[in-house]
């Protein structure tokens, strides 16, 4: 029984291969007949043999498939040729290019085709794609992908570019509206991440509302701090020798040209103390802990302030009404 069965199968297969080779040669010899793609050339030869040829080409490593059932309808064959997995590499490349080009508004139709090809190529890999039932399933999948569905694959797309270059994710809706929305959402999320890094303690919180709460609290706290500090400054500043501090800052900041020009006269009068003060200020600036540095050097600054007072003859009791610096220096 069995040995009897085997030879006919082998013969059948060899016949198939023979036919396949013949068809292949026929294809090579007559490419110009059709002038079209290889699919139509194959189709013109003989539908069953062409399909079989291509099927065997594509699945060499897989299990030997049963000989496909050939519908006689040529229109069906044409549609099947579009949907099937022939030259799968070319198809995928085409679909990728089509997808990447989808930045303009007329995206819908192109993505329809790309989606159809993509969706059909994967299931067609496992099934025989010539049955009409399968074709209907594929059309259903097309319709599903066109509806607004949740994102499936985690492909990277939607980078921040001046134009909206958003790639349609697999299974996602390809409306121009949803694409724009997605790009906008990604922009917003990127900025929220930056803010989260800036505000302490926001990294652990998840959810936009809570993060926004934290940000608002932080901004309010900072503004309150500024107000409090300004109060302290206002309280402290009347009794202070401003001139001295402006000298400090002039020595410290060489960037401000306006300052150096304005305060040049007072500097030359007190050239002796400049070097020491410069060192002082630099030491103060380079310390990280501001409070500690200030309070540590309190005694040092007092030594400098005392002689400066005598030099400048500044009267702390007199209310300063915004006197400019220059006249004050000329008096000293």
């Amino acid at each position: 029984m069995e040995p009897e069965l085997e030879p006919p199968q082998l013969q059948f297969r060899s016949a198939e291969m023979g036919c396949a080779f013949d068809d292949f040669h026929g294809l090579i010899s007559t490419p110009q007949v059709t002038g079209g793609s290889s699919f139509t050339a194959l189709l013109e030869l003989a539908p069953p043999q062409a399909v079989e040829l291509l099927v065997t080409e594509d699945f060499p490593a897989k299990q030997p498939l049963p000989p496909p059932i050939f519908p006689t309808d040529i229109g069906l064959i044409h549609r099947a040729s579009k949907f099937s997995v022939f030259a799968s590499a070319d198809n995928s490349m085409e679909s990728n290019t089509i997808l990447s080009v989808s930045n303009s508004i007329p995206v819908k139709q192109e993505d329809l085709d790309a989606d159809s090809r993509r969706n059909s190529s994967s299931p067609a890999g496992s099934d025989q794609s010539l049955k009409s039932g399968k074709r209907k399933e594929r059309e259903k999948k097309l319709k599903e992908s066109n509806k607004k569905s949740k994102s499936k694959a985690a492909n990277d797309d939607g980078e921040e570019l001046p134009y909206v270059h958003v790639r349609a994710r697999r299974g996602q809706a390809t409306d121009s509206h949803s694409l724009a929305e997605r790009a906008r959402r990604e922009k917003i999320n990127a900025r929220m991440k930056l803010l989260q890094e800036l505000v302490p303690g926001c990294n652990k919180i998840s959810g936009t509302a809570m993060v926004l709460d934290e940000i608002i609290n932080h901004v309010q706290a900072l503004q309150r701090q500024v107000e409090f500090l300004s109060m302290r400054l206002a309280a402290v500043s009347p009794g202070i020798d401003f001139d001295l501090d402006s000298l400090f800052t002039v020595n410290g900041s060489s960037n401000d040209n306006s300052y150096s020009g304005m305060l040049a006269p007072p500097i030359c009068t007190e050239g002796q103390l400049d070097g020491a003060r410069q060192l002082q200020l630099q030491q103060l600036w380079h310390c990280d802990e501001l409070h500690q540095s200030v309070w540590a050097r309190e005694t040092d600054t007092s030594n400098f302030i005392a002689p400066a007072n005598s030099l400048l003859s500044y009267d702390s009791t007199s209310a300063n009404s915004g006197k400019p610096v220059a006249p004050r220096c000329t008096t000293s």
């Binding site: 900072l222 206002a234 401003f242 402006s246 005392a306």
Partner: protein
């Protein structure tokens, strides 16, 4: 992050704010510049007797906005607001009796959307100066820069206060 917009295509497109706003505001040089400018501003603020904390605060904010070099919206708003506020106050005193407010009678329509995120965004936009009608991504960008600038302001003012306190405490 610093992706330049199409400056070649449209000159009126907004320039991106950040070449790393954090590093800009946290640099020592920036702090030094700010302190020195603040000292100078404090000279001019002094009015006989009424050197109120508000005046000091306004001066501090103005100096902060000035050191932002006008690239951010909030800094521009701070710098222009002080002037326009004064003008508005003056105009209001003159025009109060003249014009009845006719256009403002239309009440605000009841807002349908009550999403908590939306209300928080509004609160935030009120906090950041000059960002009331700004879109959300821009608002977030402005907030980033504003927070960094505020932190620098706090640091510098703390330093100055300490310095002045030390200076004042010694001779007294």
């Amino acid at each position: 992050m610093a992706e330049s917009s199409n400056s070649d295509a449209n000159s009126r497109k907004r320039r991106k704010i950040d070449p790393d706003s954090q590093t800009r505001w946290r640099s020592e040089a920036e702090q030094r510049i700010y302190s020195s400018k603040l000292m100078d501003a404090l000279h001019h603020v002094r009015r006989p007797g009424s050197g109120g904390h508000d005046a000091v605060r306004d001066a501090a904010d103005r100096v902060l906005a000035a050191s932002a070099r006008g690239r951010t919206r909030w800094s521009r708003a701070i710098l222009t607001n002080r002037l326009s506020l004064r003008l508005a106050q003056i105009n209001r005193k003159h025009k109060k009796a003249a014009k009845p407010s006719a256009g403002k009678s239309c009440s605000r329509k009841p807002a349908k959307k009550l999403p908590p995120v939306e209300s928080k965004v509004k609160v935030l936009s009120r906090l950041v100066p000059g960002c009331r009608k700004v879109s959300l991504p821009n608002l977030l960008e402005e907030t980033t820069d504003y927070i960094a600038a505020l932190e620098m302001q706090v640091k510098a003012m703390t330093f100055l206060t300490g310095l002045l306190n030390a200076g004042a405490a010694a001779p007294a």
